[in-house]
Amino acid sequence: AQRVTQPEKLLSVFKGAPVELKCNYSYSGSPELFWYVQYSRQRLQLLLRHISRESIKGFTADLNKGETSFHLKKPFAQEEDSAMYYCALNPGTGGFKTIFGAGTRLFVKA
């Protein structure tokens, strides 16, 4: 069964501290993994795709197939990073549903 697990509902860190948002997935094939972000009162936005191997707003995420993880990391958190973060899995090429994790609320304290 396809499943995305984000074990932390809430993560609170101080500004300037490193942050890691955990994501584990369950899927037998080679999925596409994404991170979406939802700032307060705004729409869900795509943050990262694993296949592009990019860094957006200082965030990176590495797909670890052995551990079936796709953790989101940032070395120095900023207050504007406070948001809801969703890890998501898509099993194939477009046209297939994307499964979202339950989300982790990141709160960056001054």
Binding site: L44, Y86, G94, G95, F96, F100, A102
Partner: protein, 112 residues
């Protein structure tokens, strides 16, 4: 940057009434989706749509729900007879192959 547009932003309806939620996807995208998020819960898949037909739907998407792309531009979600438990934020999204979704800003549906 292209956006997915959803209207209305908030809809209040009486139980048993029909509602139509509207979406204008990004023009060169081929795949369209509806998701919903009940307050405090996770984002749930409802339906995906490609080539003028439903490509996949969830168990939530029962006979009370339908989708249409009536004019090549709009993508609508209809709920025939709303129930209290249909109250949620409904998100439309569109995508191109191998890319993530672009979401609309959502329609908050309140069934009273």
């Amino acid at each position: 940057e292209p956006e997915v547009t959803q209207t209305p932003s908030h809809q209040v309806t009486q139980m048993g009434q029909e509602v139509i939620l509207r979406c204008v996807p990004i023009s060169n995208h081929l795949y369209f989706y509806w998701y919903r998020q009940i307050l405090g819960q996770k984002v749930e898949f409802l339906v995906s749509f490609y080539n003028n037909e439903i490509s996949e739907k969830s168990e939530i998407f029962d006979d009370q729900f339908s989708v249409e792309r009536p004019d090549g531009s709009n993508f609508t979600l209809k709920i025939r007879s709303t129930k209290l438990e249909d109250s949620a934020m409904y998100f439309c999204a569109s995508s191109a192959p191998n890319y993530g979704y672009t979401f609309g800003s959502g329609t908050r549906l309140t069934v009273v």
